[in-house]
């Protein structure tokens, strides 16, 4: 496991996302209200590029005719079959017991700390003035 600096925190505003490649793996990094989450860009159902999917809310119903819409933007819907995953946990809404998408820990680190290492900053220079997103893979 190594820690990889993948973006400046300001690059991904709330509601935004970025797809990055770390050690040959495509990972989608999401900003949900200032909290960052990272998921493997591969749907565990049939291999679609999950992190290119739409971010939707959760539609639930306690009985026919009553519908609730909650957690807007926190569910990720695969571009292929529309399977929904909870961005915070990677858990599948369709098959919660057997299926979850691989998730990675994302931390926000000040540039000052990162400049000392030991981190892998593959694609860009870290400056001390900014905060950065660090993914553990």
């Amino acid at each position: 496991m190594a820690r990889h600096v993948i973006a400046a925190a300001a690059d991904i505003p709330p509601g935004g996302r970025k797809i990055v490649t770390v050690q040959g793996r495509e990972v989608g990094v999401f900003n949900l209200g200032g909290e960052f989450y990272a998921l493997l860009n591969r749907c565990p159902h049939q291999g679609g590029a999950l992190c290119l999917g739409r971010q939707v809310g959760l539609v639930t119903s306690s009985e026919p005719g009553r519908y609730d819409y909650s957690r807007p933007g926190e569910m990720l819907k695969c571009p292929w079959h529309g399977w929904e995953f909870d961005i915070r946990t990677g858990q599948s809404w369709c098959d919660p017991d057997d299926l979850r998408v691989r998730r990675y820990t994302v931390q926000v680190e000040p540039g000052e700390a990162l400049a000392k290492g030991p981190f892998v900053a593959e694609t860009f220079t870290v400056s001390v003035e900014q905060d950065y997103l660090v993914v553990e893979i």
């Binding site: 493997l40 591969r42 565990p44 159902h45 049939q46 291999g47 679609g48 590029a49 290119l52 999917g53 739409r54 571009p79 292929w80 079959h81 529309g82 057997d98 299926l99 979850r100 998408v101 691989r102």
Partner: protein, 371 residues
Amino acid sequence: MTPDDVRVLESGPLPIEDRLRRVDCDVHHSLRSLEDLKPFLSRRWWDHLQSYGLRMPVPFSGSSPYPKATPALSRTDSWPPVGGPPGSDLDFMREQLLDRYDIQHGLLHLLYPCGMDQRNQAFGAALCRAINEWVVAAWTSQEPRLKAAISVPGEDAAAAVAEIEHWAGHPGFVQVAMATHSIEPLGRRRYWPIYEAAVGQSYPIGLHTSGYNGNAITPAGWPSFYVEEQHGVAISQQGVAISLVTEGVFARLPELRVVVVEAGFAWVPSVAWRLDRHWSRMRDEVPHLVRPPSEYIRENLWFTTQPMDEPERPRDLRHILDWIGWDRVLFASDYPHWDMDSPELGFRLRMTAEERRAIYGGNARAVYGLA
């Protein structure tokens, strides 16, 4: 790939020597717009299309009577970078399907427009000819891996036969395509000349769920939800298969090959069992069926896999395949539609190398006479 990434598959990785030479029996190309057909329609019929449009025997003219899950019914990542709807760009189809999954042959089914369900039958015949000219010019002559189906105006059997004979022997075509939501069930005699012509030219009939006939997709009435309609597809194809069997099409034409596309296959045994039971009691009503219906089903019908039936225990599919016959089931992806089955991950059943080769390509090569 770790178990965390992907649910552990029942099938293992594939040795190099078992390279599959996949045949994908349901690939959807599409027009960029109706303008693509302009060079292939006479001035008279192009003007007709501009003035009167496509008119099917169904309300909701100009839109689909059914809700659809996603724009253009397609994977949201399948819109070509060069523009146009999913399935309209050959290069992008190569990238996302043919090259990506090492497809030896992709069998094309055009869903829109459909010549067979046009109320103006002369226009329907002209539209079928234009579609067939276009598919050769824009697809099969550009990409030898792709093979098309001859679109026929099936409600006018004489015109349909003429269309089959016009294209007979052309290397771009491997089957004859008819709409499945037809004015009468497809086993009725008005359609028999088409089947005779197909047998005469050694073409299978490819029945992809398509067309509008004014009937709801299920006999229960109009569905409220797409999830109902999606299942209704399989029910409507059961109706087609039952009609073909009970009307005696296969008793009359034992060489006829019919490929049922996009209806799954797990329902096939139960339909056959029930037909056999009824047939044994009501044989005098259908004395033209000299053999049990299940025998016609297993000898004259083939079924494509998509949308894959996904039992909780993938191995349960084995019982179904054992009954239908491992030589009767053909892999299909349905690219670029949203419910596409991945050529790598769509089948979760553990299969022998021989079974896998049959379903992913060997059976299709046999049915369609492909190399």
